[in-house]
């Protein structure tokens, strides 16, 4: 639990993971992802932004090891061990029969650690998401936002090198979503963690990330990358600043370009 003192600026970060020429083809003819190249550095907050069918979720599943690429390679710097990865899905994905602390215990439990052995880690993770008072609650007793926090705590508890988030706040209301966005950035400042965040919201991607990878559909591929060079910490003021508006316009343009690319191809 001793993260580096600060995240180095982009360009000076150590490499964490490399995707090179990754293709994924389903059923022999559906190209879900074509020739994806992405280098993830330690401390990056990367958003994968794009319309549905652009292969963002496929990319996450490939990185998480749930699927193997049809061709190309995904290499982790120093190899990948269990616990190096934390995942947050669109749904909180909690076990309803287990209490909050038992849910957060899961990654350790599957490694044969007892609840008592990892009590400190669990409390630390719950503390990080502000749910330390709810350790004995059942998921049904929590609100949608709180369930999502438990899900984040579970992803954090092993102090993973990379956290994958697949549209985690898409099902929440706007106010809860903003709150969780702010809290996520705060967490990132504290833990210096690396995040890949899938979203279809331009505004969310600009607010959160320092790199936006814009993707196009049919076949799913990387269209362009937008660098968000606004400094952290980003607060509510940033959300209403002219800089933010300008960056959103830039990202939005990139997204439209990606979608027209698709349109041109479809009509060709």
């Amino acid at each position: 639990m001793t993260p580096p003192t600060s995240i180095p600026p982009m360009g000076q970060r150590a490499k964490l993971l490399d995707m090179s020429n990754v293709d994924k083809v389903f059923n022999g003819n559906v190209v879900a992802l074509k020739d994806m190249n992405l280098t993830v550095n330690q401390g990056d907050f990367i958003s994968l932004l794009g319309p549905s069918g652009c292969g963002k979720s496929t990319a996450l599943r490939l990185i998480s090891g749930l699927m193997r690429p049809t061709s190309g390679h995904i290499t982790w710097d120093g190899g990948m061990k269990s616990g190096d990865l934390g995942v947050v899905f669109q749904e909180p994905t909690l076990m309803p029969w287990a209490t909050v602390e038992q849910n957060v215990w899961l990654p350790f439990r599957l490694r044969g650690k007892s609840l008592v052995q990892v009590q400190d880690e669990i409390m630390w993770a719950l503390n990080m998401v502000g749910l330390e008072k709810f350790q004995k609650s059942y998921p049904r007793e929590l609100s949608g936002g709180m369930k999502m926090r438990v899900s984040i705590a579970r992803a954090l508890v092993t102090e993973p090198r990379l956290i994958l988030m697949d549209e985690p706040f898409a099902a929440l209301d706007e106010i809860t979503r903003h709150k969780l966005n702010n809290d996520l950035l705060e967490l990132r400042e504290k833990l210096k963690c690396t995040v890949i965040f899938v979203t279809h919201s331009v505004f969310e991607s600009v607010f959160l990330s320092d790199r936006i990878v814009v993707m196009a559909a049919r076949p799913g591929r990387v269209s362009s990358e937008v660098t968000v060079d606004a400094p952290y910490p980003r607060t509510e003021e940033f959300r209403t600043s002219a800089d933010y508006a300008e960056l959103c316009r830039k990202a939005s343009d990139a997204l439209h370009a990606a979608m027209n690319e698709h349109g041109a191809r479809a009509s060709a």
């Binding site: 090891g65 749904e91 994905t93 029969w97 899961l106 990654p107 439990r109 059942y138 049904r140």
Partner: protein, 284 residues
């Protein structure tokens, strides 16, 4: 956690009051209504017998049935014990066999493909039609009775538990995979808890069915068997036109069924009330 204004006195409007009253009334009615209706039905039964002078070898009144129940308690209670023993043993074996088979089914698709048809064939063939064969092939009467009751009872447990084991949340499955869970860990921490509500639903059905299976098997075994279960007593009483005893034995069978169902429901509530939707009371 509601946030009411601290300075305001609690305001209860007319609608809230009406709602609270309706709630209270419903709570009382839930217990009082069934009791009153059953009491009324028994009273009516008694009146019909008395007013029409029906002889009790055709329709005995409730008083006579109760008298018989007390008078024949020695014989009936030992018959009840026999039926109960077969029922509970069949249920226990159905639980072990049903859950065990369901686990094997989910562990191997090929095993399921191979043996599921047998389970269906056993289920759809009426037990009355297989029972005579079972009594020919199985020498031990008790074992034969048990087998009949088991055939009827195990299928709902098997099919419900299989459904439950296959109903795990796919994201949770992915998560288990990412964290490198073993097959055994996935079964124990994810699939079995997911299947629990389904299993308990199956158990409630199987409880009633094992009693039916036991009774039907006794009927088929007939007077030639060790024959001292309740069904045998009903048959025997029928031959002797001892209608009050038939009613008394019938009463005991019905009561047994109700007790088994209640026990299964209580077990279900005890295991699920903390987390499962079916056991959670909603406000408003």
């Amino acid at each position: 956690m509601s946030t009411t204004d601290m300075n305001m006195a609690p305001v209860v409007d007319e609608e809230e009051l009406r709602y609270a009253r309706a709630q209270k009334r419903e709570k009382v009615a839930k217990w009082v209504l069934p009791v009153v209706v059953i009491a009324l039905a028994i009273f009516l039964w008694d009146r019909i017998v008395v007013w029409n002078n029906i002889p009790h070898y055709i329709l005995p009144g409730p008083g006579v049935v109760l008298e018989t129940l007390i008078k024949d308690w020695g014989m009936l209670s030992s018959a009840l014990m026999v039926t109960l023993k077969i029922t509970l043993a069949a249920l226990a074996v159905a639980v072990i066999g049903g859950v065990g088979l369901a686990i094997l089914f989910t562990q191997s698709r090929y095993f399921e493909m191979s043996f599921y048809p047998f389970a269906v064939i056993l289920q759809v063939t009426p037990v009355v039609s297989i029972a005579p064969l079972i009594f020919i092939y199985v020498d031990n009467r008790l074992a034969a009775l048990l087998l009949c009751a088991w055939i009827v009872a195990f299928f709902p447990i098997l099919s419900n538990t299989t459904l439950g084991l296959n109903s795990t949340d796919h994201n949770l499955r992915d998560l288990y995979k990412i964290y490198g869970a073993t097959r055994w860990q996935r079964l124990r921490y994810l699939q079995l808890p997911t299947a629990l509500p389904y299993f308990l639903g199956g158990l409630r059905i199987a409880g009633g069915l094992s009693l039916i299976g036991a009774v039907v098997a006794e009927y088929v075994a007939g007077t030639g068997g060790i024959g001292s279960g309740l069904a045998f007593r009903i048959l025997e009483a029928g031959y002797r036109l001892n209608i009050p005893r038939m009613f008394a034995a019938l009463l005991l069978i019905a009561a047994t069924g109700v007790v088994i169902f209640t026990a299964a429901s209580l077990l279900s509530h005890a295991l699920l009330h903390k987390w499962h939707e079916s056991a959670i009371k909603r406000e408003s």
